[in-house]
């Protein structure tokens, strides 16, 4: 379980002023729960994810994962960054194998698992490409495979489908729900797309404009496994999307 308790983050800006990025966030995410975070640009979604990842310390408050306070990054929490952050000197295969080898998994075994993951994100045949030879969407898929490879129990995904075309995006959303319904990882998922959030999540957290606070948490009571086409026709799905869109509009 992830317990975010009264977390605030203040940044020191260049001019010596303080900038409150997120303010008093409290959120508990159960094991195996899929929670999406929606909010206007700059409201602190990434910052919140970094704090849970242990990459950035909170200014106030605390985060515990499985009862243990977060003091730094760890392989139990796998990030997928908005910026991909692939290792450019490694091939696609090397990138996906990296975390596994870091954990002491043997070469052959790591390669096998990496290949399977690359197939899952539809990148077979690109194993020996370097990141600079990939499109934005392909990079993003490598980044997702790289993180899934070392089997973190928690996924921290920061707009992982942001750079994808609509078609790939839909396909990967389907893949992600499939993976999730199989493995039941705990997922914190930042997105700008209301439909995506409703389709994927158990709960959707809507944040306010900067400084980011939690405005509302919506429970998505749609049955699983979810099928996108069926959902589109479902009244409850449409209601959720409309209600959350209204909340977002009220921010502006």
């Amino acid at each position: 379980m992830i317990a975010i308790d009264a977390v605030s983050k203040e940044f020191e800006t260049k001019g010596g002023r303080r900038h409150l990025a997120i303010d008093d966030i409290g959120l508990a995410v159960a094991d195996g729960e899929f929670v999406s975070i929606l909010g206007p640009s700059g409201c602190g979604k990434s910052t919140l994810l970094y704090i849970v990842g242990g990459f950035v310390p909170p200014s106030r408050g605390s985060v515990t994962v499985g009862g243990k306070p977060v003091t730094g990054p760890g392989p139990d929490r796998g990030p997928v960054f908005q910026e991909f952050a692939l290792f450019p000197w490694k091939t696609v295969l090397g990138n996906v194998m990296y975390g596994l080898q870091q954990q002491g998994v043997g070469r052959t075994q790591a390669r096998e698992r990496a290949r399977a993951l690359l197939a899952m994100v539809h990148l077979e045949g690109y194993e020996s490409f370097y990141p600079k030879e990939l499109s934005g969407g392909m990079k993003q898929r490598v980044a997702i495979a790289r993180t899934l490879a070392y089997r973190p129990s928690i996924l921290l995904m920061d707009e992982p489908f942001g750079a994808l075309d609509a078609h790939t995006r839909t396909r990967l959303q389907n893949d992600l729900t499939e993976i999730w319904e199989r493995d039941r990882k705990t997922v914190l998922f930042v997105t700008h797309s209301v439909e995506e959030a409703v389709f994927l999540s158990d709960r959707v957290v809507v944040m306010t404009r900067s400084p980011g606070r939690i405005k509302e948490i919506v429970t998505i009571d749609l049955p699983r496994p979810r099928d996108r086409v069926t959902l589109l026709l479902e009244r409850r799905y449409q209601d959720h999307v409309v209600a959350i869109e209204r909340m977002m509009d009220a921010q502006e």
Binding site: G74, P75, R77, F84, F87, K132
Partner: protein
């Protein structure tokens, strides 16, 4: 770089031919001892390269240059990378480098000779200093520019901070480090020659300036040609190494040689 169509490497050849032709014409037109025509200087080159003594001198120069370069890179890369990753390390080294930077390294030669004599040690140290600065500077820039999320990704995989410096920062900064090394290589050649000009004992610089004293201008120019070709060959070899090492990176910027 644009290439003339068809034959690769044709453009530089044309440039060199033009340079030699210009030299030849100018020398014949002016007609002073201090500027012999290209044909006479070039005619000296085979003789120099066939003479065992000059070969020993060239070998000694190259040895000192290689040693100074290797030591410079070995020290400068870790220092630069650590400066790039830690504000405290940068705050410590920056003023130091600012003081050393504008000093022409060869001008330190007489002082260093007081400590270490006129032998290999002094010259190697001067070459080391010449190489270090550009390599430190570029390693620093490269280390600083490493994307934080890349380090975070590695940290999330369970990699500790020292391993990240070696396995993430170093490869990520490698393209920039090699730009510094390339500048460093050219500076090593320059400092090599100047150090031998000041401490005359052996080396290509020694041959060059002794010939100058004895008014053997053909030899002087032949040596300049040899040094120039040496520099070109070293740079070309290094460029191939660089391309092999960082083919994965975006194309790098052109070489800019600073002052000594």
């Amino acid at each position: 770089m644009t290439r003339l169509p068809g034959i690769p490497g044709l453009a530089p050849l044309v440039a060199f031919a033009g340079l030699l032709a210009g030299w030849e014409v100018a020398a014949r037109g002016i007609g002073i001892d201090g500027l012999p025509p290209a044909s006479r200087a070039l005619a000296e080159v085979p003789g120099i390269l066939a003479d065992p003594e000059s070969l020993i001198n060239i070998g000694a120069s190259l040895y000192r240059m290689a040693l100074g370069f290797a030591l410079g890179v070995a020290v400068a890369v870790p220092v630069g990378l650590m400066m790039g990753r830690s504000r405290h390390v940068a705050a410590f080294f920056n003023p130091l480098l600012m003081v050393i930077y504008p000093v022409p390294k060869a001008a330190l030669m007489p002082i260093i000779m007081l400590w270490l004599g006129v032998g290999d040690a002094s010259k190697t140290l001067v070459i080391f200093l010449g190489v270090s600065l550009p390599v430190v500077y570029h390693s620093y820039q490269g280390g600083r520019a490493v994307e934080e999320k890349m380090l975070w990704s590695a940290a999330a995989m369970g990699m500790g901070a020292p391993a990240r410096l070696l396995r993430i920062v170093l490869p990520a900064a490698l393209p920039e480090i090699l730009v510094g090394c390339r500048t460093g290589l050219v500076l090593a050649l320059i400092t090599m020659v100047t150090s031998e000009m000041i401490a005359r004992q052996s080396g290509v610089g020694n041959i060059l300036f002794n010939s100058l004293d004895m008014a053997q201008y053909d030899t002087v120019y032949a040596m300049i040609v040899i040094i120039g070709v040496l520099g070109l060959a070293l740079d070309a070899a290094f460029e191939r190494l660089r391309a092999a090492l960082v083919g994965w990176a975006e194309p790098s910027q052109a070489l800019m040689v600073g002052t000594t």
